[in-house]
């Protein structure tokens, strides 16, 4: 069983050592929901369909007070249209995601897997149909959005079964996703965004045009923000095998400025197209990352 502490606020690497993705995600979600006392993602239907047992984090306004008065049990009401939210999570499984700047940290992919699992669990607990698409140079795995029992397990299995890929081609995945999502829904892109920004933005813009709510989670290792290393080093791109010899100490300032500029560029571009953008570091507690989405 997971630790009784608030796993969502602990160091991600430390949390990851507690167990597999499922265990960690459940622990994170439990902590997260206990912290905010309400469901983060609320459906927009008003037709009541059934009751379900109250879970910490559910909004009190959906509590059925009559049942509470009669049976002294906590049930919340669920509505017909609540399952109309169809969330599709796109996970970048390219080779660059399998990198970490410090062995004590999670790789970007490791962090993203756990974050995606937690996010999916939250969505599914809200009865939101949730699906997963992993991609690198091409779409590797697609798990359509469902709300039925066992969906979360399938999603987690999908995460686990997706190996680290090669290059990154997000626009193809995004365009394929647009074809899969017949109805408006939520699209969450989890990536290190080491891809062609213009092409990716074009695809995101297309999704937005189709009426989808789009969230971009930009995952970065802290070592990608500040350049460090030996006096002189040949850095090699794991995806393209291109390399460059640099003196980190000389280039640190310019590099940090470039990274800041790149993040700002993504944020600005996303805002311009109505896309929510969140920058997430792999040393950020999962709860804080999830809170960004709430």
């Amino acid at each position: 069983m997971v630790d009784s502490r608030r796993l969502d606020l602990l160091d991600p690497a430390e949390v990851a050592r507690l167990g597999g993705i499922e265990i960690v995600a459940q622990g994170v979600v439990e902590g997260f929901l206990a912290g905010i006392h309400r469901s983060p993602f609320r459906g927009f239907s008003v037709e009541f369909t059934e009751h379900r047992a109250y879970q910490p984090g559910d909004e009190l306004r959906y509590l059925d007070w009559k049942i509470l008065a009669r049976a002294d049990r906590l049930f919340v009401k669920q509505f017909e249209e609540e399952t109309n939210l169809r969330a599709m999570i796109l996970l970048d499984a390219s080779r660059s995601m399998a990198w970490r700047g410090d062995p004590a940290r999670l790789t970007k992919r490791g962090y993203a897997d756990r974050l995606v699992a937690a996010l999916a669990l939250i969505l599914l607990r809200q009865r939101d149909a949730t699906g997963l698409m992993t991609f690198d140079e091409a779409v590797r795995q697609v798990i359509p959005a469902r709300v039925k029992a066992g969906q979360w397990t399938r999603l987690v299995r999908g995460l686990i079964d997706t190996p680290d890929g090669l290059g990154t081609a997000a626009e193809a995945a995004l365009r394929q996703l647009a074809g899969l999502l017949a109805r408006r829904g939520l699209v969450v892109l989890v990536s290190d965004l080491l891809l062609d920004r213009e092409l990716a933005l074009t695809a995101l813009r297309y999704l937005r045009h189709r009426g989808h709510q789009v969230i971009v989670l930009h995952v970065m290792d802290p070592a990608e923000l500040d350049l460090a290393g030996p006096p002189e080093v040949r850095f090699r791109d794991p995806e393209s095998a291109a390399s460059v010899v640099v003196r980190p100490r000389e280039l640190a300032g310019a590099y940090a400025a470039t990274v800041r500029r790149e993040i700002a560029g993504w944020r600005t571009a996303c805002r311009r197209h109505g896309v929510a953008y969140h920058h997430i570091r792999t040393d950020m507690p999962f709860g804080m990352a999830l809170r960004l989405l709430a």
Binding site: R95, S96, W99, D192, L194, E224, L227, G229, P230, P231, E232, V233, R234, F235, R236, D237, P238, E239, S240, A242, S243, V244, V245, V246, R249, E250, L251, A252, G253, A254, Y255, A257, T258, V259, E262
Partner: protein, 578 residues
Amino acid sequence: MTFLHPLALLGLAAAALPALLHLLERRTPPEAEFPPLRYLRDAERQSARRLRLRHLLLLILRTALVAVIVLAAARPIVPTGRGGGGGRSGAVHAPTALAVVLDNSLSAGAVVDGRPVLDRLKALARASLAQATAGDRLWLVLADGVARAGSREALLASADGATATPQRLEVVPAVERAARLVAAEPLPAREVHVLSDLQRTALGTGTVDVPDVALLVLAPPERVPANRGVAAARAGEGGLGLTIAVSGTPGAGAAPLVARLHAPGNGPAGGRAREVGRTLAAPGQSVTLPLPPLAPGWWMGEVWLDADELRGDDRRLFVVRVAPPASVAADAGVGPFVAAALAVLRVAKRVTTGGGVSIGERLGAAHSVVLPPGDPALLGQVNRALSARGVRWHFGAPGPPGTIASADLAMVRGVQVNRRYRLEGTEGDSGVVATVSGEPWLVRDGGVVLVGSRLDTTWTALPAAPGFVPFVDALANRIARGEALVAEAVGVPRVQFVTRGADTVGATVFGPDPRESDLTPGTPDELHRSFPGARVLDEAGLAAERFAGARRADVSGLLLGFALLLAAIELAVASMSR
């Protein structure tokens, strides 16, 4: 610019180290994965120009830093011009050929202002030599005139050990030689330091004018002590009297002097001396003291002056030769003048009648004084007899008239000779006692003395000269016996006897050069005439001008400071973008 340690410049090769290290360091950098390579490239592209400039600047700074440190290690020296602390210890100068002329002649022993002049001169010589560096070429010239080449330490020891000697330093020739020595050295600078009391008598008439040699002359002292010295003390032939000459600084008053005699066999160091005379004498005066009747033998004595500032010339030794009267036989051919002189000498008991020494136209049995025969036809007979006796001299053809010159016989110097025969020898000039016109006139070989002229007024003016009787005395008592005149030489006061078998046949009396007693320095005009291009300086001036022409500043300190500045700039540039 020159370098004290030029070999260190080989280290300039190390200036290539930064570039080499840079290249070596670039050769095998470690490799690492780094996904956001595109950001890196963007950053590099944007700062490439700045980085290139920075790298270039760092390379230049590091290369310059190494080069500057190497230059500093090579101890560069640059000209700084004259003045400004030249006398300071450890001053740097370009390699210099330096000759120090240290006048340690007798006069330098004078005490002025409570301190011997020589001590002052030695201190200045030491200062000059002490400032020399390994690149200098050094000589030290003392009163003996010898230019000693050597290391600084060796010459310092020589200068420190110099004492006042009886020798006289002829300053101008010594400085001339020193100047020519340094002028021959292929060094950037050449100096001669003349440290002397610059006695007028030591300057002479010469001139030192050697181009490209800086001549620094210590100015003579302003105060000149009144000094007197015994210039000479000579006993007359047969010990008839003691003539004493006094020299010294002009104007010095008369001082008491006393003459003492030691018994034969007892030198000044042993035995009691007998005072034989006492008088007053001033510089330039000559006095004669009568000597008491002395038994035959070699007597030694000394003349003392009252002590003054220069003690070295207050005493002079003398030797008196009292020979037993020679027994002389003169034949009829010698003429009336010789017969008369011998008569006088017999009365004075300087000679006796006998066959010890024969004077005449023929060879005697023992010692003979042979005069040319009045009849030229007999000349061949005489020559054959001389040859038969083994005498290496004989009478030759008649020679031209002239005057007599002799170091041994002062009484006949300058006397006119009208007629004479040339005296011709088979073994050079050995045995020549007097000459006329440079040709032997009086010679001695073995026990035979040949005179080139008959002792007659038609042949020579000698019989009419005052020195004739002493001349005959010397002929009979000394020259015919083969005894030498008491000689005089410059040296540490002592007497050196010349012996032949068990007999003493001569003596040399050593003493200081009498010219050393006159301490009067040369006037500025005389100094200028002797040393036309020289700078005459007092002690302070000498200290300031020493090595002035070659003075250099050691800029290694400045270079090290510059290196520190470069290092600071390098550090700042290197950490600018860290």
